[in-house]
């Protein structure tokens, strides 16, 4: 809050500029290292989702597990739109708008619940969307999955475009997160997180603010899903509505620091590095090792890396 008097736009503009440099610089730098491109894209995807989650789970203090629901919805929105012959940009638009349109009323309803109840209700949305998508096979191809047109094109081009889109999306999410954190919305959300009763008493329209945060978060997740679908080229319900899409961003945010602006970014980097390391070195215990990491993290550094460092420096 301290830098509020200085221009609030410097951070977001820097984030966007940095994102653009990364987005178009990375492919040039590692263009021949396809695997690195892939990892970088994955990292950008996780950063995007973690930032989106942080708007609700961090700033507002509502532990949402609905990330996978909007991610999957966005992926299917663009897949169906492109199959129907819509241009790509309208697919992205559809992904964002559909996610937001679903998130607004659903969020408004379940954001009345607190703690575990909210977590479970948000998780159920993933289950519901997954089954509806699977069942509505006329539109979505059901369990057979769906191919995106153009998926068979030049893989290098697809990988490059995916990385560029994903990094720019991540940078935009970061910029948005900075604006929210420093603005009226973020201030209101922080009050709600700390004491919702007092927040309402101080004139904060908690239901509205929470719903706005949830909707913004959903729209970002929808866009991330759409980018992902275009990147992978083939999606099926159990892939894009996988609960791990909800869990990984939470872990990433926890690692870096829940409720901080840069926590999700730092946490995502650590998470991806660790996951990659475990996956390479432990053939069949990768998931379990991840469990060990998370458990240790929660027990030893419950506030996350950034707040942990800040606290150490303060004392």
């Amino acid at each position: 809050m301290k830098t509020l008097s200085s221009s609030p736009w410097i951070g977001p503009v820097l984030a966007l500029a940095g994102g653009a440099i990364l987005a178009f610089g990375l492919p040039v730098l590692v263009g021949d290292q396809a695997y690195l491109l892939r990892l970088a894209t994955q990292l950008a995807l996780l950063v995007t989702l973690a930032i989106a989650w942080n708007l609700v789970g961090g700033f507002t203090g509502y532990p949402s597990f609905a990330t996978a629901a909007f991610f999957g919805l966005g992926a299917y929105a663009i897949a169906v739109a492109q199959q129907a012959g819509w241009p790509a940009w309208s697919g992205f638009l559809l992904a964002a708008v559909l996610s937001a349109l679903l998130a607004a009323p659903f969020g408004f309803a379940i954001l009345r619940l607190r703690g575990h109840y909210f977590a479970i209700a948000s998780l159920m949305l993933v289950t519901i969307l997954k089954e509806v998508t699977t069942g509505w096979s006329d539109l979505t191809g059901g369990g057979m999955g769906i191919n995106l047109p153009g998926a068979g094109g030049n893989p290098t081009a697809i990988a490059t475009v995916a990385l560029e889109t994903m990094v720019i999306l991540a940078a935009a999410a970061l910029a948005l997160s900075m604006i929210v954190a420093k603005g009226r919305l973020g201030f209101g959300l922080a009050c709600i997180r700390m004491n919702e009763t007092a927040a309402m008493g101080a004139g904060i329209d908690a239901p509205r603010l929470k719903t706005i945060a949830f909707t913004l978060s959903a729209a970002i997740c929808g866009l991330a899903g759409a980018t992902y679908a275009r990147w992978i080229g083939y999606i099926d319900p159990s892939d894009v509505y996988d609960v791990m899409w909800s869990v990984r961003p939470i872990i990433a945010a926890l690692i870096g620091g829940v409720g901080t602006v840069f926590g999700p970014v730092v946490g995502s980097i650590v998470y991806i590095a660790f996951e990659e390391l475990m996956w390479r070195n432990l053939l069949t215990f990768g998931t379990g090792a991840l469990g060990v990491l998370i458990a240790l993290l929660v027990l030893l550094l419950p506030a996350g890396i950034i707040p942990g460092i800040l606290r150490r420096r303060a004392s």
Binding site: R38, G233, Y234, D236, I269
Partner: protein
């Protein structure tokens, strides 16, 4: 910062670079954890058996040199995107010469794009859907015939032997292979004027089928066709028994081909009919390292405490055996040359006669139709390897 963190982990095993071609490196992404873990582990047994046999024989003959084989595994945790990532990792970082595809049609399809791009021949041991091979790719080869080759011979057999079978119930897991099988079954039924009186899907992970089966029972089908995986099929079968359902014909794909299915159900498995791409009771002679189906089964049993191989395990072994034959023919490890050798392959193996069609999918195999009789799978079709007659009714 971002790049630094990434390259540190990504380049660590890049030392494989310097190695000359003194071994054959094969990348095998497998779902060793997650929902597909049982299938992934089966495949691994098949690959390992082939690799062990190669080691025993002193290596693979490539242009007169005997080269050892190394299979590099990577667990993709049953998540298709991770499977694709694993393919790229194995080629790009582990410098694999060849790939065995991830499990199933969906993941094989997604992974084949990587193989195509790097000109790495990929053998898919578990992908049957024609859509996988329709992509115009040149480096993908599959050891399973299309799904229609399973349902058609079954439908033909049933309608010939039992013309009074008129009403069919189709019940399938809402998943790629079972849905595709159900689709083929629908077509096969329509072609023979059978009426489909019940047609439903069940969600992945369904535990209890009592309600759906109760409704199916009310429709009184003569022939019940269930598509799913072994856990679904074991449960559906035992609940059919609980509900006293006794259709004239009960067909289940793809579980009865597994020994565990018979073990789990004991008497209730009797007279369940099925079809698979291979069965241990088929009898083929081959030019491959296993020499014959009978010998393959023996070697497998010796290696895995007496377990009998099923089609999934055998297909994995056959992927290795077929690659080995192609390598011998090509005389080099170069991707394009081995690809051409695979494309023009026309050999006999323990898996059956092997020839790949224009799309890369095998077109020389006749999947056997079989039925569980006295606790054993008995082949009914094709005639050359027929071991018994179709029996009607179930316990």
């Amino acid at each position: 910062m971002l790049l630094g963190g990434l390259s540190a982990t990504a380049l660590a095993p890049g030392f494989a670079f310097g190695q000359a071609t003194n071994e054959i490196r094969i990348g095998a992404p497998l779902p060793l954890t997650g929902p597909l873990a049982p299938e992934g582990r089966k495949q691994k047994r098949g690959y390992d058996l082939w690799a062990a046999q190669v080691t025993k024989d002193g290596g693979v003959d490539v242009g007169g040199r005997k080269l050892p084989v190394r299979i590099i595994y990577s667990d993709y945790q049953s998540a298709t995107p991770r499977g694709v990532q694993a393919c790229e990792f194995l080629v790009n970082q582990e410098k694999a010469h060849f790939l065995f595809s991830p499990f199933g049609s969906g993941a094989a399809k997604a992974g084949s794009a990587i193989a195509e791009r790097y000109k790495i021949p990929m053998i898919a041991p578990t992908a049957s859907s024609v859509e996988v091979y329709d992509q115009g790719f040149k480096y993908l080869f599959g050891t399973f015939t299309p799904n229609s080759t399973l349902t058609e011979p079954l439908a033909k057999l049933v309608t010939e032997k039992a013309p009074d079978v008129k009403k069919v119930a189709i019940f399938s897991r809402n998943d790629l292979l079972p849905l595709s099988l159900a689709n083929e079954m629908r077509k096969s039924s329509a072609a023979r004027n059978l009426s489909v009186v019940y047609d439903e899907k069940f969600a992945i992970g369904t535990l209890d089928f009592a309600a759906a089966l109760t409704q199916m029972r009310a429709a009184a089908p003569d022939w019940v066709f269930v598509g799913g995986y072994i856990n679904d099929l074991v449960q559906v079968r035992s609940q059919m028994r609980d509900l006293g359902m006794k259709p004239k014909v009960l067909t289940m794909i793809a579980g009865p081909a597994y020994e565990e299915y018979i073990q789990a159900l004991k008497g209730a498995a009797e007279n369940v009919s099925s079809a698979a791409w291979w069965h241990p009771s088929v009898r083929y002679e081959g030019e491959d390292l296993f020499r014959s189906t009978a010998n393959y089964v023996e070697v497998f049993k010796a290696a895995y405490n007496g377990d009998t191989p099923d089609y999934a395990e055998a297909s994995a072994s056959s992927a290795g055996a077929i690659l080995q034959l192609a390598l011998k023919k090509a005389g080099t490890l170069e991707g394009p040359a081995v690809r051409d050798a695979l494309a023009s392959l026309n050999v006999r193996t323990f898996w059956g006669p092997v020839h790949f069609g224009a799309t890369g999918q095998i077109d020389s195999l006749t999947p056997p139709v079989f039925q569980i009789q006295e606790g054993k799978a008995v082949v009914l079709v094709p005639d050359e390897i027929k071991r018994g007659e179709f029996r009607f009714g179930i316990a």
